[in-house]
Each structure stands twice: as C-alpha cells, then as structure tokens.
Symmetry: C2
Subunit: 330 residues, 2 copies
C-alpha cells in the first residue's frame, strides 16, 4: 500500500532512518553500554530490533512496559527506572520470569519491593528535578535494601534537566554537576551499575556505565538542534487536508494524535499555525487542495507513540508493515 | 473497591456530578435543543445517559465515533461535524444503519460523500478559524449537494474562538459576529438545522437551534471560570505519590495520562509545578508521604479521555463501575 492510501491520521516511521539510527547507536554504545528506554516507543517489535542490535537489557518507565517485554521474551535484564509502591504490580513483575531490577529512593519503595519478592534494585539518586533520594541518604537505603534481601546493583540518576539543552557546553555543565553527585552516591552504595543519561547526553555522559536512551530511534525535533546528534528524524504523522481557506489549510491530525508538551509539530511544506483537538492549521508554501496529504513531524515522540494503536512502517513511500504499540497504558 | 485501591494512574468520574451536569443541561436545553458532542468523552456508555436524558441526536468529530454510536444502537441522528474525503469510511457510515449527516464545505467533500452514498449533509460555514466555507460559497455548495442527491439539512458553524473566553461580554461579541454570518448563510442554504455552539456558549447562543456541547458533562477547568456555567468539575486523575523531596513531591500521573494543551492540571492540595512523561511534581500545602494518593484535575477533558482505556465511576469514594472509552482512535 502506498503511504497516501493510509486512513488518516496515521503514525508512520521511516524504516531506513529507524534502522540507521539503531545501527549508529549500537556502534557508539555497543551491547550493554546502552540500556534502551522503551518508554519512547512502547513497542516490543521495535525493542526486538534493539535487542538484535546487541542491547540485551531494557529501561522501562511503567510496570506494564516491564511485563510486556517479559511476555515478549525480552526479559534478560529489565530495569524499572521509576518508583512504585504498588505491591500487586511489583509481584507480577517479580514472578514474570524476567530478571527485574527496580529503582528505589525511600523506605516505602524498598518495603514494597521486598514485600513483592523483587530481588534486585538500584538506588535512585536525585540528580535532577524528579524522583531520587539525596546523596546522603543513599548508603542507608542501600543497607536497608540488602537487609530486605534485595540485591543492590548500583545507582541510577537521570539528568533530565540537561537533556534538551541545545548549547553543548551548558548541557555538559549541567550533566557533569549531576553526575558528580551520582558518582559520590555510587562510592557509598557499591554495585556494578551506574545508570543514567539519555539521547541528549549519550555522546557526552562518560560518567555512567550504561545510557538509558530511547528517543534516538525516532528522534524528537528538539534533539535535532543539538550539534552532537547523528540521528535523523524518523517519526511522522500522515494527515489529509480536509478544508482550505484563503490564508490557511486544515488537516485532520490534531492534538489528540500527537504530544503537545514540546509545542507544535513542524512541517517541511510551510508554517504550522496551531493544533486543535482533531485538526492542525497550516500555511502552505505552495497551494494545497482538499484531499492532499501532508506529513507533520510531532515535536515529542514519547507521548505521540502513546496515543496510537499502531505504527506504520514505510520504505520508499510503501507501507510494508504495521507494528502494534503494545506497551501503552498502565 | 475504594478509590484508593485503584492501580494508578487512573481516570475517574464523580457520578453524582456527571448525573447532575447531564440533568442540568437537559433542563436548560431539552431534547433536540442539544446535540451532545461525543468527542469530549468518547464513551458509548456516557452517550447512553445523554440519550436517556432526552437527546436523541449526537455530534461526532471522527468517523470512528459515528460508527461506534451506530453499533451501540444510538444512531437515530448522527452528525459528523467535520470534513472528510475518505470514501471508504464515508461508505461505512452510509451503510451503518444509522441516520448519518456529514458536514461539507467544498466540492471535494461533497463529491466524496456522494460517491459513498451519504444521504444528508449540513453546509459548514467558516465562522471561526477552522473548517467551513465562506458565506458567499454556501448557496453554490448547497446546490451542488442537492444535485448530487444529498439532502441539505441546514448550516453548521462552530465559534471555537469564543468558546473559552472568560469575559462574558467579550464572549458574547465574538459569538454574535460569528452567528450573524451563520444566519446569513442559512438564509441562502435553507433546511431545518442551524447547528453550532458548545459548552462555553450554550447559555448565550440563541442563534442556533441546536447546541453541540460536550464538555459540560465532566467540565474543563477553563470553563469553570466562566460566570454563566452551572456545571461542576467531574473528571479526576488519581495518582500515587512515589517520591518526596524537601520542597516537592512526585506523583505517578504525568503528561501521557492527561491532555496538556490547556496547561497543567490543577490540584486542591497545593501547587502543580510541572508534568513530565510519567510524573507530575507538586508542592503540597501539607506534608505528603510516599504512598499517599492525590487526585489531579486535568485541564482539558477531551484529550485526557482519549488517552485512557476506561473511566472509573466513583460515588462516595467507592469505584462502582468502569466504562470503556470505546470511541477512541481513528
């Protein structure tokens, strides 16, 4: 099927770009130097390609992602890089047959994990503005975990506030001050893992021994402005022009079909004015007519993928496959 | 089940509020004075309550909403208040067994509808900043539709730019200048229907003969600032505190679980700092501990509902039912 025959709105990935991004990252961070974050794409099919590229461990944001990867046979080494006190879900993860490690940052999260029979953890250090304990708490929490029969594999710290910074030196400064704290914590916690980072810092964060990048596979538009990114934009939102006015045209892919937290989508054929629930208004460089197709580039892939049931796989404008986005929801 | 036992994040509705909002709207706009817009909630269960309150016709934004309502036996009078040139989907609608009327605003949309065997349309007039033809084009398009064996039921015009304006007089001005154009178009188009409006203008738009309100059932936070709104907030996002820092706490409901286009959610227990993919950071008025539950109020219900598989129905803090959000996707 040609891409222009897809019912719209339809999410599609350029397979050449996707494969080249995966190969380039596997060259830069081979094997377990990369622990791909599946929250970016939420697809076990795509995770399988990353596995085949040599990355046997995965990073997850939700218990559902952990369980889905386990069921798909990708459970060699799964890290829930997030806190939970949901004992039912922790128990499901502990009995999933996968090797499951969870992030903990408090007595409550350790107690919940121990109650559920979770066997391994990392101590999550607050190096950014989200979860994590203080460096000074890390030793005590590691001791508590070990006393609770949970092996401590090391430390985790996500420098999210550095990730999207375009200026390389500023990004490096933010990352380094975050990583100094992570290394301090690692010295008192022990263990083999120092895990953190993401697509934005994958090329400069030499402090961690594994990088939790996910966006690199399909790329966010913000990252493409960073000079040290070798990855290309691979995710697009196919839409149909349904109405044409004197000064703008309206397509049928709106904000319900894409993540808006990084702003409007971009479009190679002109200016994007705004998105409403089911529409995006654009000012085309050249005349558009009703029925024409345009491909928007969503600004943030993670929440965009989470809104779609499936991802259409395109090569040379032909839709050659359709992958379920099967790790969605909670 | 008590609401605090729900796995989180979980979307829930206060049934008392929902029922009272439906009853209040049915009192204000009884029967076919209201054509409830299902894009706000995307649930055939909720649509059934609106049907039982006397509103036999529905407004839809997508073919999928039309087909889902038809399959649920709610197809007395369905209006696709949106343009499409997808002949396959139009054909599905035309053969669904429901009475289906589509919005058209161009030769291309009329031709597609005629090809698919659609029997009725409204001429969509551009009174805002989205779809619709100019007033001057309305007569010609109505003639073309009739020649194409499509009955013309009247005109539609959605004054979206007025809808969220808090100041009542400004909102009225914007609405009135939009409706003057709609009425001009109606004079040359004919037909029984003058359809438009929404929750924001339901109390002041006396120009149309049916109002396409949807948000009133569960309410957007923006509308609650309008002095002429009798409806109460009924949609909440239950979350669990998973990490507590010195100056903020982090819950497990982030931007993948709610629409962000109207800004951050609100919360009765303190300040909302920001949302990231799977977390929201809050500054609580009173101390929170890991494991505590908080209910956020998403700013925009339409895209929030579209992100969840189901809506939990709560009365007196007990989860008494779970409704599928079955009109999602495309």
């Amino acid at each position: 099927m040609h891409i222009d025959e897809l019912p719209t709105p339809a999410l599609w990935a350029d397979l050449d770009v996707l494969e080249s991004n995966i190969a380039e990252m596997a060259r830069r961070l081979p094997g377990n130097r990369l622990r791909p974050h599946v929250k970016a794409h939420k697809s076990t099919t795509l995770a399988t390609l990353q596995y085949e590229a040599g990355h046997k461990g995965f990073t997850c944001a939700t218990p559902r992602e952990v369980l889905g990867l386990a069921q798909a046979g990708l459970g060699d080494d799964l890290l829930l890089a997030n806190e939970t006190v949901d004992v039912n879900r922790l128990t499901e993860m502990a009995t999933s047959g996968a090797r499951v490690t969870v992030a903990v940052d408090s007595e409550a999260t350790i107690t919940a994990a121990a109650t559920a029979g979770i066997k391994e953890c990392v101590i999550d250090i607050r190096v950014g503005f989200r979860c994590g304990c203080e460096v000074e708490e890390a030793h005590g929490l590691a001791e508590l975990a070990r006393k609770s029969n949970i092996g401590v594999r090391g430390v985790m710290g996500y420098e999210g506030h550095a990730m999207g910074v375009v200026d390389l030196e500023r990004r490096r400064e933010l990352m380094e001050s975050a990583m100094e704290r992570l290394i301090q914590a690692h010295e008192v916690v022990g263990g083999d893992l120092v895990t953190g980072g993401g697509t934005g810092t994958h090329a400069i964060n030499t402090w961690v021994n594994e990088i939790q990048a996910g966006s690199y596979v399909l790329m966010d538009t913000a990252y493409t402005e960073q000079v040290d990114q070798p990855f290309r934009q691979g995710l697009f939102l196919q839409s149909t022009i349904v109405s044409v006015a004197e000064k703008f045209a309206v397509c049928d892919a709106g904000l319900k079909a894409q993540g808006m937290d990084h702003g409007n989508p971009s479009w190679s054929g002109g200016e994007v004015l705004f998105c409403s629930d089911e529409h995006t208004n654009v000012v085309p460089d050249n005349t558009l007519k009703v029925g024409d197709r345009i491909s928007l580039v969503p600004a943030h892939i993670d929440p965009t993928m989470a809104k779609h049931q499936s991802l259409h796989i395109v090569r040379d404008e032909q839709v050659i496959d359709r992958w379920e986005i099967d790790l969605r929801h909670w």
